[in-house]
């Protein structure tokens, strides 16, 4: 067991303990709080569709299986985990994203009892042909619900046009056809590969004591078998498949998702690269940028406009989303603004204000145990530590921003548009 203490003079302290079985445990004590938030997660998400655990061939599994596994893990031979949490009053849930599956609870009493339940059910898979078949119906409904969500489709349409091979372009829940191929044996294979503790993490923030939490976790470990996982690589270049895609939906006005595909030599982005991208977006299209004013005053965007650095293992995209009567004009304006900043330089007064604001945001995140835990998960999956942002912000220079902007190439961009059903194609 190896424990590292991280401290910041303003923001507090937390520990990262790596147990002998390889499980990483992040704990931040918040003694003044009434509640606690805990996650037991695995570095396993929808993009992990190709893998091997020895020198043999890669195994390919159906799309959506990580999410399917998440649904099934709540069940056991004796009943489901929700019922066990209901007895304590805790709120319990789970989620699957591209690179992680997380099981969580929050509570304001009986924390250690809840932690025992979490440890137990995540380590107790129970899949049968019958229960798998029943879940196919429920998840099919969930997939159909997302098919009706224009905000969800506009993004996946963009990713499908952007990525040739990377499974980030596939809906996290898979498709009705792909989940039909899932059976109990495949679920066990994925579980035994990715739910080994050396691939997992526990993140906790709240009114807890670190030593008591660690004792509880150590006594709750069921299987300390380590598995070495090799994930299949997906070859991607800077090229996109199509620069424009559209779909019709029953929406009030067109919606868009416009993204620049980035290409890097390494699969995972560093904390520095992520923080710099955040500042870049504030300068480029934040709500006191010249671009935001131009787009708003000309009636091209509304309060739905947002931007994001969307990245994970093997993919990275700077993207912009919103509603607009003319999405192509918005995409052109973004591209023009990038060229203008590259030509004229960074507004240094705005850069300093953006850094001050990002610092304020970093302080604010420590007011919420949920936010702290979500940031711990980022650290577990992507690297870095909780206090990175504050130190990194100070170092960002105008040249860093310009260097990042140079990575955004028009030929690597995709505009995805959702058109109202009665609107002509643009």
């Amino acid at each position: 067991m190896n424990t590292t203490v991280y401290q910041d003079p303003r923001l507090g302290a937390y520990t990262l303990t790596v147990l002998d079985c390889g499980l990483s445990v992040y704990i931040m004590e918040k003694p003044g709080f009434s509640s606690s938030f805990a996650v037991f997660g695995t570095k396993y998400g929808s993009i992990d569709t190709k893998f091997r655990t020895d020198a043999g061939d890669f195994t390919e599994v159906p799309e959506g299986i990580a999410h399917f596994l998440e649904h099934k893990l709540f069940e056991s031979e004796e009943g489901d985990a929700f019922t066990r949490f209901a007895a304590t009053g805790a709120y319990a849930n789970a989620f699957t994203s591209f690179d992680r599956t997380c099981y969580l609870f929050s509570c304001s009493s009986r924390f250690y009892e809840n932690l025992d339940i979490l440890l137990d059910f995540v380590q107790s898979p129970y899949f049968t042909a019958q229960t798998v078949q029943k879940e196919q119906g429920i998840i099919g409904q969930e997939i159909r619900m997302y098919e009706d969500s224009p905000g969800w489709r506009v993004m996946f349409n963009m990713l499908e046009a952007m990525y040739e091979n990377h499974p980030v372009k596939i809906d996290i829940a898979g498709t009705v056809d792909s989940i039909a191929k899932i059976d109990d044996k495949l679920l066990y294979e994925c579980y035994n590969t990715f739910y080994n503790l050396s691939n997992m993490y526990i993140c906790i923030a709240g009114n807890v004591r670190t030593d008591e939490v660690l004792d509880r976790i150590k006594s709750g470990i069921k299987n300390d078998r380590k598995v070495c996982i090799e994930r299949g690589a997906f070859r991607e270049t800077g090229k996109v498949l199509r620069s424009y895609v559209e779909q019709k939906f029953e929406v009030a006005q067109p919606m868009f998702c416009f993204g620049y595909k980035e290409t890097w030599d390494t699969p995972q982005r560093t904390a520095e690269e992520r923080v710099t991208a955040g500042i870049l977006l504030e300068l480029l299209c934040g709500d006191c940028s010249p671009l935001y004013k131009r787009l708003t005053d000309s009636g091209l965007i509304n309060d739905e406009f947002s931007s994001e650095y969307f990245q994970g293992n093997g993919y990275a995209t700077i993207l912009f989303e919103g509603e607009s009567s003319d999405p192509k004009a918005v995409a052109d304006a973004i591209d023009t603004e990038i060229q203008r900043i590259l030509r004229e330089g960074v507004d240094e007064r705005l850069l300093e204000a953006a850094k001050k604001s990002a610092y304020g945001d970093a302080v604010r995140r420590f007011d919420s145990t949920e936010n702290i835990v979500m940031d711990m998960i980022d650290c577990a999956v992507c690297g870095g530590d909780l206090f990175d942002t504050v130190g990194l912000l100070e170092k960002i220079t105008p040249e860093d921003i310009l260097a990042r902007l140079r990575l955004l190439k028009k030929e690597s961009s995709v505009l995805s548009v959702i058109l109202p059903t009665d609107e002509k194609e643009i």
Binding site: A86, S149, C288
Partner: protein
């Protein structure tokens, strides 16, 4: 945590909720005005206008820059229907002074900015500027029209419209497209003036310290307004029971259908008195131990989601579900059958205890979230008394099965709204 209440004049009060656990301070102004079809569009647009410019910060770029300088202070607003009132909230969240680089008084500066936005807007000759009004009108119309993009929320909005008829509660909280189109700077100025004159006002501060003189400052500002005819925040017209439930179906280009059911309730009001309705709804269709989750979703696999929620202030319950079109009637019958079970008292001690624990556990977690605490105390304006989450939790523990069964027997199906896929080959 301690609470200090101060009168800020007629129909206005200040609340300082001392909470040491946060690194930020939340300051919020809550206005309550009568819910009316005539003013809802103007009143709903107003907070958006007030939070994008002011006399000092003439455009949103300069205002937003000021917020960045205040360490990314978060300025936000919301409009919600609360019983027979429209509740307008404008808030500012800012880091505490101890986190500022040179320990400057950022909380005080943020508070003054918030007050200046509300009391010193960008106006001229008794009107807001046309350019600001037109910009916010466009955004509000897009907000109203964009409701259809989220079919689950849209189906609920449509149910309200069908269920409430002439009661303005049935109007979407942002008003109507026609109502917004008819607005101009003068009309909005009049609504702003009446908000300050007759709106019930609550100013809340949640944080470590109350900035010196803040409540005195707002009292002086309100004294300068000729306050009178204050909104009666206790008035509630509950949803009346329907003699015959209505069943409305509409078709849209969707893959999955939505079935939303509205029930009138004999119990209403957001205070402790209506807690049996809260528990009844939770056991019926709230948590994973509820009838709808365990039977309709899990055992019968009839829908991906199927849940019930109560709007106690107005006295009604809504069940919403995502369904296959072919299952619509089956789900409807299954939901009614589960409600009958609750009415007959056919729920076990485990469900009752799970519900009590879930609700009380959630209430105690409110203390860890400034925005939730702010909503909670804002809600106490219309619920008839300042009550803490802890006091509410204590009251929940004492609700009996008999009270819950009685609440269930006060529920009556009022309106069914079905949003279903268009038939193949049907004209648009």
């Amino acid at each position: 945590m301690s609470i200090k209440t101060v009168s800020l004049g007629e129909g206005a009060e200040g609340l300082f909720i001392e909470n040491e656990r946060f690194g930020t301070t939340l300051l919020s102004l809550h206005f309550y005005i009568p819910l009316s079809a005539d003013t809802i569009s103007a009143a709903a647009l107003l907070p958006y206008l007030l939070t994008t410019c002011s006399r000092e910060y003439r455009d949103y770029t300069s205002l937003n820059f000021r917020l960045l300088e205040l360490y990314g202070a978060e300025l936000s607003c919301s409009v919600t229907k609360s019983a027979d009132c429209l509740h307008i909230r404008i808030s500012m969240s800012v880091i505490n002074d101890e986190f500022a680089f040179d320990k400057e008084s950022v909380v005080k500066q943020a508070a003054q900015l918030l007050l200046s936005l509300v009391f010193e807007p960008a106006v001229e000759n008794g009107a807001f500027f046309a350019s600001d009004v037109e910009r916010e009108k466009r955004k509000t119309i897009e907000r109203i029209e964009g409701e259809i993009n989220n079919k689950r929320a849209f189906a609920r909005t449509r149910l309200y419209a069908e269920m409430f008829g002439d009661d303005p509660y049935g109007i979407f909280e942002y008003g109507t497209v026609e109502g917004v189109k008819a607005l101009d700077g003068k009309r909005l100025y009049r609504v702003w003036a009446s908000l300050l004159k007759s709106g019930f006002i609550r100013f809340q501060v949640i944080g470590k310290q109350l900035p010196d003189g803040l409540f005195d400052e707002i009292t002086a500002k309100l004294e300068a307004v000729d306050r009178g005819g204050i909104t009666d925040v206790t008035s509630v017209t509950p949803l009346a029971a329907a003699e015959n439930p209505r069943d409305v179906t509409e078709h849209y280009k969707v893959t999955q259908g939505k079935l939303v059911m509205g029930f009138s309730s004999r119990i209403f009001g957001a205070g402790i008195r209506s807690l049996p309705l809260l528990l009844c709804t939770d056991i019926f269709g709230g948590g994973p131990y509820s009838k709808l989750f365990t039977n309709v979703r899990e055992k019968q696999s009839l829908c991906y989601y199927c849940s019930a929620s109560s709007v106690r202030g107005k006295g009604f319950v809504v069940v919403d579900s995502g369904i296959e079109e072919a299952n619509a009637d089956k789900v409807l019958q299954a939901v009614l059958a589960e409600l009958d079970e609750v009415k007959k008292g056919n729920f076990d001690a485990f469900s009752l205890e799970a519900s009590r624990k879930s609700i009380t556990d959630t209430l105690m977690a409110y203390y860890d979230n400034a925005a939730v605490l702010d909503s909670w105390y804002g809600m106490t304006v219309v619920s008839g008394g300042l009550i803490s989450p802890e006091e509410m939790a204590d009251a929940v523990r004492s609700i009996t099965k008999e009270q819950i069964v009685a609440a269930a027997n006060g529920l009556q199906l009022h309106t069914v709204y079905r949003l279903l896929p268009e038939k193949e080959g049907a004209e648009e």
